[in-house]
């Protein structure tokens, strides 16, 4: 009888390792004389040099051969050795399940199991009793941003097959979407980041029967979030029962890993993903006394085990180790035999004679190449027709043709519908909470007289941050009791009054004392005098953090016996920056502490101002629901209220203006085409905060919306960063003299635009 043999693939050991080496160590500890052969797809897979392996096979890269031939070659390696095969690469396993279904020597799940765990894994989650974090498949940065802004930009962008990138802002989001699409092909999945402790469950199964499982809590992670140390534990009986279901329903064979995060705020366990193979930390479980690779191989082959499972510890750490390696492995010899670098990407820029060391291979097993080969080819997207209402808005605004270019275009109808929506939100909040609710338009966002006039006619309030803004609103017709004054510089150039405001919110303890003095002297009259609360858990330069003990004492002292008629509390932190969930958490924490503080000072709050920074894409129901939740939390803590205010700015005016431009040039670049227009970041200064949708019109044709892609619009300035929009597909026929319309340019794009390069 020949020596029992196991073939392992995916043996790279780097910052983001494959499991092959850990599998080898675990199998060795069960059978010291087992023959182990390694398979990988480039000599730069570092584990190929490890002494654990009796033989290594460097297979041709995924770009070269026919995929069926590659699978057949691998099967022939396994069969000729009379071996069984444990895959360490997700896509290789998926491909083998598809091309060699049911092969008894390939210890991997059947194709149907891959379908059950495909991201975002809802089928698997329901079997496992786990929640799935909110997600959306995103084609480009516009729909991606619309999703991300609701979650405070803290989202994961996941490749179609593999890899997840955490992002925390618009620029990172755009880069991640473009990068993952270029690396893996296909669609990208966006998923909300869940704050909490990460856990993994690793298991082995044969033909739908669970052979064993254990749980691991990550205790140290790398910058990429990969496990560096962990604590291993038994799986609790309910979780085990659910895992038995998953394994049975999918007829699972092979290793697997369920990655879970338990949310700190709610305690809810969420599924991150299910991996169709053993994880790279598998040997950590073996050291804790659960040798799953050995159980799998023993069950599949009937080879009797030589060594018993033994618990060395309940935790593990990783170490870095230098091992001897030959010239192909260390990169002295270029991997040029296939004309590709070790990443299987473009030809290497750095050769053996380069004085600069090559970067460690990020994907030495060539998974991106395989992923792109497996992705379905997609037709180039074409410009999209506009809905009737959008087309009518534009037709109403662009009456004269031709017109000046570039030009800012005002959509009065869009503003009116925004005001209708805000009035509806006020009614919804009032109906749900019983507290009279109004909004105060943030004048600085866009003080255009047409906007102020429309707000005035609706009977709404206006919010200002300086005496000059207050005068401008007075000139526009706002009476003093419809003006809310806030900000850190509210008394800058104050003429001594007397002056009247609907509400004044103080930004610091000093500001509170100063304002109380002005009120006592008779220079200022305010219906509501209040304090802006800072968010306790996120950095902000504004407001008072009453959760800080010294501020708590100072505010209590300032308010004790102060001549405040109606006291207000304001919480203003942009939900468009931190997300709706974090906003509510910060608001509730601040209000909870403020409520006890007011009790100590023996004063009651009458007015609550929920501030601005609401994501412009929120519908009436979403914004209303958020304000209702906040108002209810406040009433619970503070008691009944007379009034709720909120301060929309961008939310109202961002969609109400656009920038009309003319194409000056269309050029070919290394990364596709770019159109140069006669506008620039001087007309679109807020280009970095949100991706402006772009419409295109050829002479005599209707406006159409440009779809996502990898092309750009450049501005007219001689500045590298004058690229007001990237991530688009330009239409085939776009030419000099065509027009582009940048939508959603009615907020800071309008108020902060500047004259430059004209």
């Amino acid at each position: 009888m020949s020596t029992p043999t196991v073939v392992l693939s995916g043996v790279h050991s780097g910052p983001n390792p494959s499991p092959g080496l850990g599998l080898a160590r675990s199998l060795r500890s069960a059978w010291p004389r087992l023959r182990l052969e390694a398979v990988d797809y480039s000599p730069r897979s570092t584990g190929l040099s490890a002494s654990e392996f009796d033989r290594v096979h460097v297979r041709p890269g995924w770009h070269t051969a026919d995929l069926d031939a590659l699978c057949a070659g691998l099967v022939s390696i396994v069969e000729s050795a009379g071996a069984v095969f444990l895959p360490g690469l997700d896509l290789e396993a998926a491909l083998l399940a598809d091309r060699q279904p049911g092969h008894p020597a390939l210890l991997l799940p059947p194709s149907a199991a891959f379908d059950a765990v495909v991201k975002p894994g809802e089928t698997a989650a329901s079997l496992l009793g786990l929640a799935v974090p909110e997600y959306r498949f995103a084609e480009g940065v516009e729909d991606g941003a619309d999703f991300a802004v609701r979650h405070g930009w803290r989202v994961w962008v996941k490749g179609s097959r593999y890899e997840a990138v955490a992002t925390n802002g618009r620029a990172e989001l755009a880069a991640a979407i473009a990068g993952l699409r270029a690396t893996w092909g296909g669609e990208t999945l966006l998923q909300r980041h869940v704050d909490g402790a990460e856990e993994s469950v690793v298991f082995a199964a044969l033909d739908g029967e669970l052979l064993g499982a254990c749980a691991m809590r990550k205790t140290m992670v790398t910058a990429e979030g990969k496990t560096w140390a962990g604590s291993v534990d038994l799986l609790d009986p309910p979780s085990r029962a659910r895992l038995v279901d998953l394994v049975r329903v999918t007829r699972w064979t092979g290793g697997g890993e369920v990655e879970i995060v338990r949310e700190t705020d709610t305690g809810i366990p969420y599924l991150l993903e299910v991996n169709p193979r053993f994880p790279a930390w598998i040997h950590g479980a073996t050291l804790a006394g659960v040798n799953l690779p050995a159980r799998l191989v023993a069950a599949a082959t009937g080879i009797p085990r030589q060594e018993r499972e033994k618990a060395h510890s309940t935790g593990f750490v990783r170490v870095v180790e230098e091992i001897p390696a030959g010239p192909h492995a260390i990169g002295v010899v270029p991997t040029g035999q296939h004309g590709l670098s070790c990443d299987g990407e473009l030809p290497g820029h750095r050769c053996a004679d380069s004085p600069v060391p090559a970067p460690g291979g990020k994907h030495p097993s060539g998974m991106p190449v395989l992923s792109r080969r497996l992705a379905l080819p997609r037709p180039r997207p074409r410009p999209v027709d506009l809905d009737h209402r959008r087309a009518a808005d534009i037709a109403d605004a662009l009456l004269v043709d031709p017109y000046e270019s570039p030009a800012r275009v005002y959509f009065g109808g869009v503003l009116d519908r925004g005001l209708d929506r805000l009035a509806g939100v006020c009614r919804d909040v009032e109906d749900a909470t019983g507290v009279p609710t109004r909004f105060a338009y943030s004048a600085k966002t866009n003080p255009d007289p047409r906007v102020l006039g429309a707000v005035l006619r609706r009977g709404a309030l206006v919010e200002v941050i300086s005496q000059a803004e207050a005068r401008r609103c007075a000139e526009a017709g706002f009476p003093g009791d419809r003006v809310v004054l806030g900000g850190p510089a509210k008394w800058w150039r104050f003429d001594g009054g007397p002056v009247k405001f609907g509400a004044v919110f103080c930004d610091s303890v000093g500001d509170l004392r100063r304002t109380l003095a002005l009120v006592a002297e008779g220079g200022v009259y305010a219906d509501v005098l209040g304090l802006r609360l800072a968010p306790p858990g996120v950095p902000s330069r504004f407001g008072v953090d009453v959760t800080c003990p010294r501020a708590y004492r100072a505010v209590a002292d300032a308010l004790r016996g102060a001549p405040v008629g109606r006291l207000g509390l304001q919480f203003h932190h942009a939900a468009s920056q931190i997300g709706l969930r974090a906003w509510l958490r910060e608001f509730t924490a601040a209000i909870t502490v403020a409520a006890d503080l007011l009790t100590r000072a023996d004063v009651r709050a009458r007015c609550l101002d929920l501030g601005g920074g609401w994501p412009p894409g929120l519908g009436r129901a979403e914004l209303g629901a958020q304000l209702v939740r906040a108002t209810r939390a406040a009433v619970r803590e503070l008691g009944s209220l007379d009034q709720v205010l909120f301060e929309p700015g961008k939310y109202l005016v961002e969609p109400a203006m656009a920038v009309f431009t003319t194409v000056l040039d269309v050029r070919e670049g290394r990364h596709g085409r770019a159109a140069v227009v006669d506008a620039s970041i001087a007309e679109l200064p807020d280009w970095g905060s949100h991706p402006h949708p772009v419409l295109w019109r050829a002479p005599g044709a209707p406006w159409r919306r440009l779809p996502p892609g990898d092309e750009s619009v450049f501005g007219r300035l001689c500045m590298e960063h004058d690229r007001p929009r990237a991530g688009l597909t330009l239409p085939d026929g776009i030419a000099e003299g065509d027009h582009l319309l940048f939508l959603d340019a009615g907020a800071y794009d309008a108020s902060m635009s500047f004259r430059f390069g004209v």
Binding site: G196, R262, E263, T264, D265, T266, G267, P536, T547, C548, P549, R550, Y552, R553, A556, D557, R560, T588, A589, A590, T592, V593, A595, D596, L597, T599, R600
Partner: protein
């Protein structure tokens, strides 16, 4: 259990002074309870490792405190010792409805540690009398009666004590 020289402590656990008619003392207690309410999460209910008290360390670090120590000294303190932390944490946990007892311990320490701590306390003008010998220190913790059973909880290090090698040399319970 026995402790070598200079013997087991005979004093009761530390208590913070509460000044009569001191608004600052009352404000401090109010702040602590308000802040703890604001930090409540469902996950805290079964957290018998930290009891969700990590927020205290946003404001203080462990170090020398000058006794007698009053509630109104808390907001301006940068460092607080295990006695202050046990008082503060005990009040907060009791306000959550948990039954809490004060516990005095004598624990092992390394010679290097006690040397370092003695220097720190002397540099701050505080008496290092809690360092009983080069290898033994006095420490204050809490016995918290959680749903899952009693837990010997160290608010200074936000962890459970009394297991394995950490087993104290001596210990005494006081009902709060």
């Amino acid at each position: 259990m026995t402790v070598s020289a200079p013997g087991v402590p005979d004093h009761p656990p530390s208590t913070l002074t509460e000044h009569a008619d001191c608004a600052a003392c009352a404000d401090t207690r109010s702040w602590l309870l308000a802040h703890d309410r604001a930090e409540a999460t469902p996950a805290r209910e079964w957290d018998t490792t930290t009891f969700g008290l990590g927020w205290l360390f946003r404001y203080f670090r462990w170090g020398p405190s000058r006794w007698p120590f009053a509630w109104c000294d808390v907001p301006s303190a940068e460092h607080v010792d295990c006695g202050v932390l046990a008082c503060v944490a005990g009040m907060v946990l009791a306000a959550r409805g948990l039954r809490v007892e004060r516990v005095q311990l004598v624990e092992r320490a390394a010679v290097e540690e006690t040397a370092l701590w003695r220097g720190r306390w002397l540099a701050a003008g505080c008496r290092p009398d809690w360092i009983l010998s080069d290898r033994e220190v006095y420490h204050e913790v809490l016995l918290v009666h959680a749903d899952a059973g009693p837990v010997l909880f160290d608010p200074t290090e936000l962890r459970q004590v009394g297991q394995g090698r950490d087993r104290p040399l001596w210990m005494r319970q006081w009902a709060l």
